[in-house]
């Protein structure tokens, strides 16, 4: 299971629309969740509707929260999305077997076993969450809470039985041409990580869309490594077969 969790406090203002980028992510099998963090006021109507739409396009959830609720929200969203991802997959199977797609349509006494399977898979399946943090100037006072939420999420994921990894990115990048910067590559623990965002340069633009695309690329690279590996393996087998076939 693959997720991107975007934490932001406002509107994107540069480059590709984040809604389009989120739809790209979804087509790659990555769910996009969005948390909008509020100051005293709110993120503004424009920001709020963008946040909601990014999540909808990315097949994920969106929430507006204040800093105090951030850890809990991030943790619950990730968990909920895991269940929903598995539920969708199981419902697809149900569709083929029963000719109807929803668990709600089953009589209550038949739901138990299906949900038991969903729970089991949700607990044991591998999970990758890429956290994408808006580090534009207005986010600066919130980064400590964001870091705390990331550590808290790692703690929850470590309790799962399945393999769980996170990676962390922030945007915009400090150099020109970088839409986002990786702070932490895939890892399943934060032992020894003193600070996730050391001396961050806060820049003014908010290229949310391009940043999402870059994270999707990062996911794809991981896959490419895998497929390179399997291609190589296949070639080797082919070679061996060739010797035998002639």
């Amino acid at each position: 299971m693959k997720q991107i969790l975007l934490i932001t406090d406002g509107c994107s203002n540069v480059g590709l629309s984040p809604v389009v980028a989120a739809a790209h992510a979804k087509s790659e099998g990555i769910n996009v969740n969005v948390v909008g963090v509020l100051d005293q006021g709110d993120v503004g109507e424009l920001g709020a509707s963008e946040i909601e739409e990014i999540a909808r396009a990315g097949g994920g959830l969106s929430r507006m929260v204040n800093m105090r609720q951030l850890s809990q929200t991030v943790q619950m969203m990730t968990r909920k999305t895991v269940v929903q991802t598995i539920q969708l997959a199981v419902q697809k199977e149900l569709k083929q077997v029963l000719g109807n797609g929803s668990i709600e349509a089953l009589p209550p006494e038949k739901r138990g076993e299906v949900v038991r399977v969903i729970d089991e898979l949700g607990e044991t399946s591998g999970l990758k969450v890429a956290l994408l943090i808006d580090a534009s100037a207005s986010m600066k006072p919130k980064l400590a809470a964001v870091e705390e939420a990331i550590r808290d999420l790692m703690l929850s994921l470590q309790a799962r039985q399945g393999k769980s990894e996170i990676s962390v990115f922030h945007f915009p990048g400090s150099r020109h041409g970088d839409d986002c910067v990786m702070d932490l590559a895939w890892t399943s623990h934060l032992n020894g990580v003193q600070s996730i965002f050391p001396k961050l340069q806060m820049a003014g633009t908010t290229p949310t869309g391009p940043a999402i695309m870059q994270v999707v690329d990062y996911y794809r690279q991981g896959q490419n490594d895998m497929s390179d590996y399997s291609r190589r393996a296949r070639n080797e087998t082919d070679g061996m077969m060739g010797d035998y076939v002639v």
């Binding site: 809990q72 470590q158 039985q161």
Partner: protein, 306 residues
């Protein structure tokens, strides 16, 4: 995260199950949890509790837990009915019917009946947890709001949404009761997780303001079990059990049965020793024991009732 759940059922309205046609008259709202609402309902002459969920899969996994508990308990049935209902908004909502637990919340019980009930109620609560642990479960979301107390300190746990099989990740928890939040260990379901929450619950009952203040003033990386211990050490009401609390916070008890045993032994020793620094509620216990002639006899009798 419950903002999407807006269902409201009016007092006196009758709900009919979609599949099994059970008829329930709504009496009043008993409580709202993380993933649903609980109403007091009447069926024929019986008072029952109806939990309505916002999400079918969520509620069903709670039902699965209750079902396996029912199997293990053999005597007291928990789950009476499982069905869907049509809300006033035309949407379908899943629900289940369970036993109605008469009683008040832990905090208000102690306020009404007096703090001398605390050691016994706490012991009964440990007994409840011990049963769960023995059956392979961890309660998970243990907090003041999820403990109901009836007459004479009889304890019932409510809201099984956090109940998790041992070894899995805790399904639902509340930050200040959470072992991970205090940097005191993992969020994996093991009996020690519940005992940690139990210790926080004891502190919450005696020093709610100081505990709340601590969550506000400490930086996340500075939250620790020793901060919790400091509150307990400086609270006269908790002094007699501060050693026990420390062991619970450090994860030294194998399960709630062992914790209950130590708790009981602690009460026993304090009462018989009759130490001058004994707080009010222990004196009350000593007096009770005195009425039963020998203090140790009293505890033996009490053991029989537990």
């Amino acid at each position: 995260m419950t903002t999407s759940f807006k269902l409201e059922l009016r007092r006196g309205s009758v709900v009919v199950g979609k599949w099994r046609m059970g008829r329930y008259r709504i009496e009043r709202l008993l409580g709202e949890g993380a993933n649903g609402k609980v109403y007091l309902v009447q069926r024929d002459r019986d008072w029952l509790a109806m939990k309505i969920g916002a999400d079918t899969v969520d509620l069903q996994s709670e039902i699965n837990v209750l079902k396996s508990l029912d199997k293990q308990r053999s005597l007291e049935t928990f789950l009476y009915d499982v069905d869907d209902l049509y809300g006033p908004d035309g949407r379908e909502y899943p629900f289940y019917i369970m036993r109605y637990v008469r009683g008040t919340t832990l905090a208000s019980y102690l306020k009404q009946q007096g703090p001398e009930w605390f050691p016994l109620v706490a012991l009964n609560l440990l007994g409840k947890l011990a049963k769960l642990h023995k059956a392979g479960w961890v309660f998970g979301d243990l907090k003041v709001e999820n403990v109901m107390v009836a007459d004479y300190g009889h304890v019932e746990l409510v809201d099984y949404g956090g109940v998790t099989a041992k070894g899995k990740s805790v399904r639902q928890f509340t930050e200040i009761y959470d072992r991970g939040y205090w940097n005191g260990g993992s969020r994996s379901a093991d009996p020690g997780y519940d005992l940690f929450s139990f210790a926080v619950l004891c502190i919450q009952l005696h020093e709610p303001k100081r505990l709340h203040a601590l969550t506000k003033e400490l930086l996340p990386q500075n939250r620790s079990t020793s901060e919790l211990m400091e509150i307990a050490d400086n609270c006269p009401g908790l002094k007699p059990v501060s050693g026990w609390l420390k062991r619970a916070l450090m994860g030294e008890f194998a399960d709630a049965a062992e914790g209950a045993e130590a708790w009981r032994a602690l009460m026993h020793r304090r009462v018989t020793r009759n130490s001058p620094g004994m707080p009010g509620w222990l004196k009350g216990l000593a007096a009770t024991s005195g009425l039963l002639l020998a203090a140790s006899m009293g505890w033996l009798l009490l053991d029989l009732f537990l």
